[in-house]
Subunit: 146 residues, 4 copies
């Protein structure tokens, strides 16, 4: 059961996501946002695909990047930016929805190290299709990209 | 001066990019594609931004990912996919155009290691805003994402 | 409880590690090696430190790299090499022993994607000090470094 | 031609390296250290190898990690630590000496983004065997590992 504080935090996170035009273009929704984890969901449409009909790697990257950022923000409790991350693509993403789940593994004063799993949901079944790891920095402590 | 073979190769690359719906959504154009380098350009529109008015990190990631893939494809001379990459965001991307330039540093039988620089062009001046490094795999030798 | 097959696998893994002169130089021991996970332990001696008395990052990197390689080898069931990895250092490593635990998150025909946690043990207490993620390739499918 | 200031800087860097017991164990020498680049050299001995007679990946990682750190230190002009990096192994390292060359691509107030090329020298011929990219942080702004 989520506490009232968690629900307030999720609402605040949804507002941040809504203020990102690129997230709106991709149709991303924030479905969890607390210190134990962050979840971002993206319905798969044809415009998000590459030439073989799979979800484009750039969409998986966006999902991982943004989920990592929110996970770092939940841990650091402030405005943050992604400093860097790496992603491994594991399988073609074929299905109806992407889910990126991220968590801060460690958080210090100025940055947090986070991990993310990206799943594709096909006919109700989740399959891991990418994994990521990165550094989220407190705003002012690093460059600003996402 | 580009040779006829290079121009044919660029035309072939442009067709691949045109067949990626997500690349069309972002408005990406392939402006160089040969064994010495690949260049991808994206005009910056408001829909590609995040909440602070900078280009969203997901767009920089897309640009790096796709430029790395094309650079690997030029080196391996075949259908390829990005296996993995990492990206460091260096500065907020503010301007009128993104340029991602990538090159294969080494190419073997089944994969190529590539590097990419992402620049933002503001009033005619190019500024480096992200750097990336990754592995591009020959199709069939690795998972398929981009 | 470990099965006889697991114990045979651990013995085989110990022989591989023993045949690496650099692993002997660092004093590494393989303490788990099966498809569910790999564990590498290194007693901390002064020669493994940097100028501030912490374990040198190069030792943490070695531990992560080698644990990732063994985890990939357990998953692929064959001779393997590390193709690439990334590591985030989280905290200074101060204590008596390093433990690197790795697991293959996904394994295909030619490569496996693996994750690793590196802990430092200080007076019996484990603390996470680095996290890593990388690609392990079947021998012959990639370059050979570790 | 190196200026007197550069020679003083190189001497200061050599003292830092000499104060790292692990660098002494590996036999590393700092042969360049200025804002335009850093060079670290390691004579290849049998104790630095893996089971196939190649230099162990952990040694290449150490070389890349430490060269990145020095490059970041030269750019930031202060005590630094490696926050994170990634490395791609390109070819088996066979020869008499390793050379790691690193440079800061961008430096801000609290961190620098750096790149490194690792070469193996075999009978006088240099061959690129690994490439790396990472973040070096000003001391106090990040965890401390190398």
């Amino acid at each position: 059961m989520q506490s009232g504080a968690d629900m307030d935090m999720l609402q605040a996170g949804k507002q941040v996501l809504a203020s990102q035009p690129f997230s709106a273009l991709l149709g991303a929704a924030l479905t969890r946002f607390d210190r134990e984890g962050t979840e971002l969901r993206i319905p798969i449409r044809d415009t998000l695909k590459q030439q073989h009909g799979f979800v484009h790697g750039g969409v998986l990257s966006y999902a991982a990047d943004n989920a990592l950022t929110f996970a770092g923000g939940a841990a650091l409790g402030t405005g943050v930016v992604t400093s860097e991350y790496k992603i491994n693509y594991l399988r073609p993403a074929i299905g109806q929805e992407l889910i990126a789940r991220a968590v801060a593994v460690q958080a210090g004063k100025s940055q947090a190290a986070c991990r993310c799993d990206v799943f594709v949901v096909n006919e109700g079944k989740e399959t891991l299709c990418a994994i990521a790891q990165g550094t989220i920095a407190r705003l002012g402590a690093a460059p600003t990209a996402a």
